[in-house]
């Protein structure tokens, strides 16, 4: 009976869980963090994506946290300040003229889409040629972003695999960019939970001891 009541209590929270249904089929991909993958991702994002997109919440200084040496960062930032944000090479006005809208900022993209890094990976690798010979995207039909990496034209499996690896690394970096404190959060979380677990056990023992005074 007690358990049934508890479950009903928890069930109140269920609606929040239930609306996680993805509209487009996302591809499964292993986005495990590794220092090398993130650095490769930074290279792809800064050299390819940032032609049109910005990452305004990421500063050049942040790259130091990803294992870049000050010298490497200096090469990337050129005459820009260490604290200046990563902005696109294309000015927003020209981008709006070229694509009809300013390409969205990528700093939070991995948090802004259902599926996070998986969405980014599926979308960027999702370009294909439709029967009429036009480029379209499986995840985002009619997307205005061009097929920059050329997925729609690749027929060679090895080449495709290599390109997919590039996108995967970029997605790993973008997941970091959207939530740069995730690792710090988790490692602190373990200590907090450990501390609370110990405290709760002690409080339970104290509770039993105090209540033991009643007969």
């Amino acid at each position: 009976m007690k358990a049934a009541r508890l479950w009903l209590g928890l069930a109140l929270l269920l609606p929040a869980l239930s609306n996680a249904g993805d509209e487009a089929e996302l591809r499964t991909v292993d986005l495990t963090w590794s220092a090398e993958a993130v650095k490769r991702g930074v290279e792809t994002v800064t050299s390819v994506c940032m032609a049109c997109h910005s990452l305004k919440y990421i500063k050049y200084r942040d790259l130091l946290k990803l294992g870049y040496t000050p010298g490497e960062v200096d090469v990337k930032r050129a005459d820009r300040d260490l604290d200046s944000p990563l902005l696109s090479q294309m000015p927003p006005d020209s981008a709006a003229e070229a694509f009809g809208k300013v390409p969205p900022d990528l700093s939070l993209m991995a948090r802004a889409r259902e599926g996070g890094g998986r969405y980014i990976y599926s979308m960027v690798t999702g370009f294909y040629l439709d029967p009429a010979g036009n480029v379209d995207n499986r995840v985002f039909h009619g997307i205005r972003m061009p097929d920059v990496l050329g997925f729609s034209g690749v027929t060679d499996a090895a080449q495709r695999a290599q390109l997919e690896g590039t996108v995967r690394d970029a997605a790993i970096f973008l997941e970091w960019a959207a939530d740069p404190k995730a690792q710090e959060r988790r490692s602190l979380g373990f200590y907090v939970i450990g501390y609370l677990a110990l405290l709760t056990v002690l409080l339970y023992l104290l509770k039993r001891r105090i209540w033991g005074r009643l007969r």
């Binding site: 009903l8 239930s18 802004a112 889409r113 959060r185 709760t200 409080l203 209540w211 009643l214």
Partner: protein
């Protein structure tokens, strides 16, 4: 020295007598279950929200051009800003979870009945204040869902007869949700917790007058009451430990669970999100709003769905103690009601379809039906229970308490 300081204070302020009256001598039924922990937990979450909120306010900018960026500034540049924000965003959900359980306990055990009607009604005011605070706070990150949520909800006041349009403009300070709205919501979001705090004090003064209800549903004799301190302070703290484990796990490992993806996109008045959903704690009421095809009707139904709880002390006509514990019909109605609320929550979360619209309407009918059925059902149930003879546990309890009450009077 300490004694002299306390004596000095006691001559000028009732410190010792206050502690005695409200803690060390405050009589509390010894049979309270862990369902009675949730009031204390709600108070604790209020403290989490106020403390984290004040620190957020030190770094947040209530300006449409700066708000979204300032939240990212908190997340990325402020020392432990991510922690402060996640405690606050998770805390909002935790607040409602704890409050809903607190309400469900009150409903199940019939704790709203005389002499605790004012507890129930001050609690009702607290719920409304917390809902208003949560709604206004949700606009502050200035994401897509913040913006469109506020746009949709303020728009509901358009249903006000005659002056609907003026009311909406008056609330927003503009024709659409904009900078004026954001700034005033920030000001009010900062103010309301203090109103909530004041209301909590009133709630507690009321509680210490009528004392806690208990699972048996009757007022226990002195022998079955124990001092609040140390027995219930330690029980509340142990419960707090368990709560903090769950809360900590959510805040540290699943903080995004309570943040809509779309709210990581800055507010864009020109682009409506495909599917506007309120936060989970508003979903059942939102489903009721959508169930009525007419705007005014929907708004009235939604308001009634919350306000109707106030009528419970009058709708429940049974004099059998213990609420759902000793009343099988009421118990079934309680569980059906909880299931119905969960169903409404599901309907509120999904994009509207023809089938779901009907499910939502049936569930809305069930929701109000339970309240309307209660006066008749509770009276019939009491007649049936009395004709059958009260359950042995109730009868024994009543006899026992009556006997010891007689004993203490001698």
């Amino acid at each position: 020295m300490a004694n002299r300081v306390i004596a000095w204070i006691d001559q000028r302020f009732p410190l010792t007598s206050f502690i005695k009256h409200e803690l060390t001598d405050y009589p509390t039924p010894r049979n309270l279950s862990y369902w009675w922990n949730f009031g204390f937990l709600a108070g604790f979450v209020l403290v989490i929200q106020m403390v984290s909120g004040i620190f957020l306010a030190m770094h947040y900018k209530p300006d449409t051009a700066l708000a979204f960026d300032s939240v990212q500034h908190i997340m990325r540049d402020v020392n432990y800003g991510w922690l402060i924000r996640y405690l606050h965003s998770t805390g909002a959900s935790a607040f409602f979870a704890v409050i809903f359980i607190h309400m469900a306990r009150t409903l199940y055990y019939g704790s709203y009945r005389a002499p605790r009607e004012l507890m129930w009604w001050t609690g009702q005011v607290l719920l409304l204040l917390i809902m208003a605070t949560a709604f206004m706070g949700y606009l502050l990150p200035w994401g897509q869902m913040s913006y469109w949520g506020a746009q949709v909800i303020t728009n509901l006041f358009r249903a006000t007869p005659f002056i609907g349009d003026q009311i909406v403009v008056w609330m927003r300070g503009d024709f659409v949700v904009g900078d004026a709205t954001l700034t005033r919501f920030f000001a009010l979001h900062f103010l309301f917790p203090f109103l909530i705090f004041g209301m909590v004090v009133i709630h507690l003064v009321g509680l210490h007058t009528v004392k806690s209800s208990n699972p048996s549903g009757i007022n226990l004799a002195d022998k079955d009451n124990i001092p609040f301190h140390p027995y219930f302070t330690i029980k509340d703290f142990y419960g707090l430990g368990v709560f903090m484990l769950v809360f900590g796990a959510l805040a540290f490992f699943f903080p995004h669970f309570f943040i809509e993806n779309a709210n990581n996109i800055p507010a864009n008045p020109l682009q409506t999100p495909a599917h506007i959903v309120p936060e989970w704690y508003f979903l059942p009421f939102y489903a009721i709003l959508r169930a009525i095809p007419d705007l005014l009707g929907g708004v009235v139904a939604m308001a009634l769905s919350i306000l109707i709880f106030s009528a419970m002390p009058y709708l429940d006509r049974s004099r059998i103690p213990g609420g759902g514990r000793y009343r099988p019909v009421y118990r079934v109605m309680f569980y059906l009601f909880v299931a119905d609320v969960v169903l409404l929550g599901y309907v509120g979360a999904e994009p509207p379809t023809a089938t779901l619209a009907i499910v939502g309407q049936v569930a809305t009918f069930m929701y109000f039906g339970m309240f309307l059925l209660l006066p008749w059902a509770s009276r019939k149930e009491e007649q049936w229970l009395r004709a059958r003879g009260l359950p042995r546990a109730v009868q024994e309890l009543l006899d026992d308490e009556a006997a010891s009450a007689k004993g203490s009077r001698k």
